[in-house]
């Protein structure tokens, strides 16, 4: 089947890359140094868009503490704080189903486009307040 596969190989050779480009062409000797070096910024990740569901955005001031989001969260990622009548969201548990954003009566929960949410400190993955919606920085 060499006749079948050769045209394919030739096309692969000439066409653009299919997958996302790696942040760097080669593994640098020190990854942390290379990432913080401003002279050679890494290849940016592909932009997200449309219906992408990223880290939750929570407008704490708008929340009325109705606890509906806690009721539908499949991963028990939303935690109700009885003292303040507000919630916090554990992003490390969240499965990004967006169910809470649908049920929230005041729409203070939205899915942002941030997806780089891993962290060494567990506390950093907890969303307590991201402010009003317009202040959200895009990832």
């Amino acid at each position: 089947m060499i006749t079948r596969i050769l045209p394919q190989l030739w096309r692969q050779f000439c066409s653009r890359v299919v997958t996302n480009i790696f942040p760097a062409a080669h593994m640098p000797p020190s990854l942390t140094e290379a990432l913080s070096d401003p002279s050679s910024p890494p290849n940016p990740p592909v932009p997200v868009g449309g219906r992408f569901r990223g880290r939750l955005h929570y407008d704490r001031s708008k929340c009325i503490g109705c606890r509906l989001c806690v009721k539908v969260c499949p991963a028990n990622a939303t935690d109700y704080q009885a003292a303040e009548k507000k919630i916090v969201i554990h992003n490390d548990r969240c499965c990004f189903c967006a169910q809470c954003t649908e049920i929230c009566p005041v729409k203070c929960l939205t899915m942002s486009e941030t997806y780089m949410i891993s962290s060494y400190a567990r506390k950093e993955t907890i969303v307590t307040d991201s402010g009003p919606l317009s202040a959200e920085p895009k990832a």
Binding site: I5, K71, C95, I103
Partner: protein, 421 residues
């Protein structure tokens, strides 16, 4: 003197994607008999469902399988809709069908690629994976996610098919009509690939009936079975589906791995046709019967009864049975029967008379999903007792200390002298 010996393939094996053990009895390189032993990846999802309300369980059912996640979701949702008599708008039914077929393409392409990889045909594997990207992109456009789409909900779907999306799907259909033929020819007409797959892992028509094979595994053995035809659901009532069997396309149905390959490849073309018909016939109207989740939850709390959902997943029949009790928020019980459970029973028959080197190919040929299949564990109760998370942590640490101190479990005392540094 007996010359047979027994070796295990799995649970951890380079040729397998998921843990299952096949104990093969060999005479030289030839497999005389086989015993399949699952049990390495039971997760207890049904137990978790009993602490959740039906809306939460949608997302739990999505995680039964990473590949046919939408099939499981839809099956669960149909079971709940069955017991609570919820109606679904026609547009939603069409969108569900569209996602089901997109998922079928994604699953079959993945399987075809992996099958090539299992026989060592890596260039075809990469070609398959490259083509699969396209359908993943469309699914991401539709749902915002590449694998767990979260599209369906009770009484409809959560996101509509916009005109731009319909355009993207149509473009994808054109792409596959154009690009899929070279892949099919490269694999199916290659003499080496044919030699590796022809007459390997044969499941005869009678055996397929006797061991209740389902889905593409059964169809490759020549059985005309397809739930989309025999008991149509969603938009399949409007779009006729003919089961794809090898005897219609080739001279006869042999029931070997090459036939399973051919059935799946032809089903990709069938899925493209169905998707086109769905887009052509997509009716106008609402796509969600009741957008207010509180009302849905309240009505499900009142609902009582047992509901069934049976659909044709990419690997075969998927069945969910759910029970809700009136006045209770949570799911009372839930039973899942994934297609692999039916197909795995035929493994020992397929193994007989084949060579050891074909064992991973035969295991992969039914497109097994072991974690979907393992729904319960049976013990003899002799070691009954509950081990808490803290206990497990303590035992785990103790074991590490023991290993560090040179105490090995099970009588193994380490490598004396030679490898110790």
């Amino acid at each position: 003197m007996a010359t047979t010996y027994t070796i295990p393939v799995g649970p951890v094996h380079v040729g397998l994607k998921e843990p299952v053990t096949a104990w093969l009895e060999l005479d030289g390189e030839r497999i005389v008999s086989a015993r399949v032993r699952p049990g390495a990846i039971h997760r207890g999802i049904e137990f978790m469902a009993r602490e959740r309300n039906p809306i939460q369980v949608i997302y739990l059912s999505e995680r039964i399988c990473g590949i046919c996640s939408f099939s499981h979701v839809l099956c669960f949702i149909r079971a709940i809709e069955d017991l609570a008599s919820l109606s679904v708008p026609v547009r939603a039914q069409y969108i569900r069908t569209l996602v089901l077929e997109l998922e079928r393409i994604h699953s079959h392409l993945l399987w075809a690629g992996v099958a090539c990889y299992t026989i060592g045909f890596d260039s075809a594997f990469h070609l398959g994976m490259q083509m699969r990207e396209r359908v993943m992109d469309v699914l991401e456009l539709l749902s915002g996610n590449r694998v767990n789409y979260g599209v369906a909900t009770f009484g409809g779907v959560r996101w509509d098919v916009t005109p731009e999306l319909a355009k993207a799907v149509r473009e994808t259909i054109r792409y596959y009509r154009r690009e899929f033929a070279p892949f099919r020819e490269i694999v199916m007409e290659d003499p080496v690939a044919q030699a590796r797959m022809r007459n390997v892992g044969v499941l005869t028509r009678d055996d397929a009936v006797r061991y209740s094979a389902t889905g593409p595994t059964a169809r490759a053995s020549g059985l005309r079975v397809d739930i989309r035809q025999s008991s149509p659901y969603e938009a399949y009532a409007d779009i006729p589906v003919e089961p794809i069997v090898p005897q219609d396309y080739f001279d006869t149905a042999r029931g070997d791995v090459l036939d399973r390959f051919a059935v799946r490849v032809l089903e990709v073309y069938q899925a493209l046709d169905i998707m086109e018909k769905v887009l052509d016939g997509l009716p106008e109207g609402p796509f969600l019967a009741e957008p207010n989740l509180n009302k849905v939850l309240a009505s499900l709390k009142k609902a009582e009864g047992t509901g069934w959902g049976i659909i044709e997943a990419p690997r075969g029949d998927d069945t969910h049975i759910v029970r809700l009790k009136g006045g209770e928020d949570n799911v009372c019980w839930w039973k899942v029967r994934a297609p692999t459970y039916a197909n795995a029973v035929s493994w020992p028959v397929m193994f007989q008379g084949n060579e050891l080197a074909d064992a991973p190919l035969i295991i992969n040929s039914i497109d097994p999903c072991i974690s979907c299949m393992e729904r319960m564990m049976v013990t003899d109760g002799s070691n009954a007792g509950i081990v808490t998370k803290e206990d497990l942590l303590k035992r785990c640490r103790q074991k590490t200390f023991d290993l560090k101190a040179g105490k090995f479990p099970g009588g193994f005392n380490g490598f004396k002298g030679e490898t110790k540094r």
